[in-house]
């Protein structure tokens, strides 16, 4: 019998089941795009029938990190940029848990950029939502890794001399097997994309455009948006790396020309997840590791039996 009976419970949930009573109302600024992520996440979890207690939501630091306070599940509000290493270890140790990591563009593409590349490369079976508002919000409006070139802020008074980071292209190059972009102004698409990401067996990266009405007034509200999968104007094959790469490059450039392109950009259903890869080479137990600590009948190995002969 599992020690974790919330996993795979399969009962029906109401969206309110993901709303903590103590903090039912999020304290983001009025008009903030982060509300869109919260709503889409609740909708996706509910439609997939995920119990709050079989979900682990890990976040970093920033406005995005407050998602943990407003979404009721197991949560781990970590430190700046480190939600991914915490999340992927949790998935390895207790693979039945539905693991979702979230953070901002500074958190995920700046300070945590190394973890982003390596988590994508390893293709951990988890969802990663990046609240991309092209600015540092909670610290009051500094230029971020995705701020467009020339973006002026208190810390870049003459405008940023840097090209913005290309999150979709970086994700593809790093090895993510599901890459999408959605926007807070597009709640249905966002919900569907989060659902697909959760169901995807591998690292699913969602670059989620979340407008910041307080500190990034110059930026677009990410409307009107175009879904590249639906629009006749864009033809590409999301299962083909090269085709996807071209579409991503075009999308990243278009954003700074005022055109918001969204949708699924790359989907590789065939690539095994990291857990599957590790199991295939005998480097990960078939049974979830966390279960073992609750199994009274498990016979734990002793170093005396395993190793002492070679030291005699």
């Amino acid at each position: 019998m599992s020690a974790f009976s919330a996993i795979g419970e399969g009962q029906e949930f109401d969206q309110n089941d993901y709303t903590p009573e103590l903090e039912p109302q999020a304290t983001w600024c009025p008009g903030c795009g982060d509300f869109g992520v919260l709503k889409a996440l609740k909708g996706a979890a509910q439609e997939l029938g995920k119990s709050p207690e079989e979900m682990l939501l890990t976040t970093g630091i920033g406005c995005s990190g407050k998602l943990n306070s407003y979404f009721d599940s197991y949560g781990f509000h970590t430190i700046h940029g480190r939600s991914l290493p915490v999340a992927r270890a949790a998935k390895l140790a207790n693979p039945g848990v539905e693991v979702i990591a979230a953070g901002g563009d500074g958190d995920g593409y700046g300070i945590g950029g190394n973890h982003f590349m390596h988590t994508a490369r390893e293709n951990h079976d988890m969802t990663y939502i990046v609240f991309n508002n092209e600015i540092f919000g909670l610290t009051k409006g500094q230029t971020s890794p995705t701020s467009p070139k020339g973006h002026k802020s208190k810390t870049q008074p003459h405008g940023s001399a840097k090209e913005p980071l290309r999150p979709l292209s970086l994700s593809l190059t790093s090895g993510a097997s599901y890459i999408a972009r959605t926007a807070a102004v597009n709640p249905n698409q966002a919900k569907e994309i989060i659902k697909e990401a959760m169901e995807h067996d591998g690292f699913a990266h969602i670059d989620f455009l979340t407008q910041c009405p307080t500190w990034n007034k110059d930026a677009k509200q990410y409307v009107p948006y175009i879904d590249v999968n639906d629009s006749d104007d864009y033809e590409f094959d999301k299962t083909d790396r090269r085709s996807a790469a071209d579409m991503m490059a075009e999308t990243e450039e278009a954003l700074h020309e005022g055109k918001v392109l969204t949708g699924r950009f790359y989907v590789d259903e065939d690539r095994p997840s990291y857990g599957q890869e590790k199991r295939a080479i005998g480097e990960m137990p078939e049974e979830p590791l966390a279960e073992r600590y609750f199994d009274d009948s498990y016979e734990w190995e002793r170093s005396a039996d395993l190793f002492l002969d070679k030291h005699k």
Partner: protein, 632 residues
Amino acid sequence: MTDNELIWRIAGGSGDGIASTSQNFAKALMRSGLDVFTHRHYPSRIRGGHTYTEIRASSEPVKSRGDGYNFLLALGDSFARNPKEGSVYGNEEIKPLSENLDELHEGGVIIYDSGLLDASEIENFDERVEENNWHVYDLDLRSLAREKGREVMRNTAGVGATCALADIELEWIEELMTDAMPEKILEPNLEILHEAYEMVTEEYDVDAHDVKVPEGSHDEEQVLLSGSDSIAYGSIDEGCRFIAGYPMTPWTEVFTILCQNFPEIGGIAEQVEDEIAAAALAIGASHAGAKAMSGSSGGGFALMSEPLGLAEMTETPVVLIEAMRAGPCTGMPTKPEQGDLEHVLYTSQGDSQRVVFAPGTVEEAYVQTRRAFQIAYEYQIPTIILYDQKLGGELMNVPASVFDEEPNPSLGSTLTEAELAEAPHDESGKYSRFQHNVEDGVSPRSIPGQKGGRFLATGNEHTPEGHIEESPENRVAQMDRREQKLNAIADDLASQDETHQTYNGPEDATYGLMTFGSSQGTVEEAVDMLNDQGYSVKSLGVSDMAPYPKAEVSEFIESVDEVLVVEMNASAQFRGLTQKELGQYGEKLSSLLKYNGNPFEPLDIVEGFTAKIVDDEELSGIETKFVPAAGD
């Protein structure tokens, strides 16, 4: 040292198999009934560069590398660089012989490979040999190895010659070679071993010198292992099955042992992008219900500073190990030092708390690693094992029975679903994970996936329910509760049957030596030597760095007139900690420090003691230096 011991030094180049040859030789001597202790000296380089291993073997217990040595086997360095004069590493070809003469005892034995080494390149070699009454055997080991097998087998030829000259029975070596070598290379190696042995016995008077292996016997079965082995095995016996890390000397040894063995026992080992990730993974795995660890050496541990604080604040159990090496910065990567004590104690922002043990011996490394896991999981706090290149790499024999212990896979203060059903929850059904009024300050945790256990872990200050909150009342209550855990741990450690602190010497001694971590064995041998010389000295080796064993240390200091604090660093960090924790005794404590890249030898301490405590002289040099007591 006593007369009745062999200290054999095998010198050559990195990559020439010095380590494996010496390991087999040490094991052979242990099997023959002797107590052994090894010391490694090697450069941060893959191929070439002066390296040696010393094996001290005695019929009496040995706790350190000893003082100097009495038998040199100088082999060639296959990858030596031989630049013109003036380059930083000089002519390396001759180093296996030239670099090892200063510490060789009078009357000692030298075997050198005349196929690769030319003693005439060493200034005044013959004069020094005569002056020191050394017995020199120039043997063409390379040709012998080439003739019967391959050139690399000259190590075996050297061992064969050693056995002939030191009166070691070949069967001990044969047995080990048979265990360790594949058949294809075993045959020629055995042939070379015998050939060298016979060549020496036929051509030389092996009794011209008196450096011989002693005879000994053990009352119980012994095993030969290192501090790194002990830490890895202690982790496994505590049910640790998750490790994340990034390679860095010398911590890599523990990491490697666990990476190699975890697949077989259903563990998960992750080599990750950096040490920030490594510590964060260990925290994530622990949060999700595994017993987990990470570790590094100084520079990598610096990157773990922020995750360490996360573990403290979220009360996530985790064990980190820190293998010190000579700093600052990259320092001297393969050389021992005890300079990270303050780093490990104080890193991470805020009034952060952690438990730190610094084991002194191979056996203590096993026991205290186990204790570290127990404390971490019982009290939900990061626990650190602080050791160094010396303890990690030195091999010594330990009774096999030390490891004959039952595993302990307990997750400590963690609830089951049945227990969670009875536990307090907030109005929306969240488990009250961080309750204020709980015994010892420990509020039991739940694991993701458990029904009735959901909660938010956060690095922000939080309410009992895990909500982020900054009210003064809650802040003080949570800070005090976390502090309370430290007090409970201190009481817990003090109430154990066996203290982690180690005493040596007569209880009523006049003077005291104090040290921490891996210098302990050397200090104890110095104490024995000083008492033999008529001085009244005892020692205290402290392992509990945090919480600090105030009562035990105070009692020790109170019981003597003066204390010399011995540590391998330049800023007297352990003495500083002692004064900070005890708030007095500044006038009673002086320091003997060594930070030249080599560990203390017992005589360093004997000389330091007699110069400072007995003769009240100043002594400072590249080997050791004094820092006087604050009252001076």
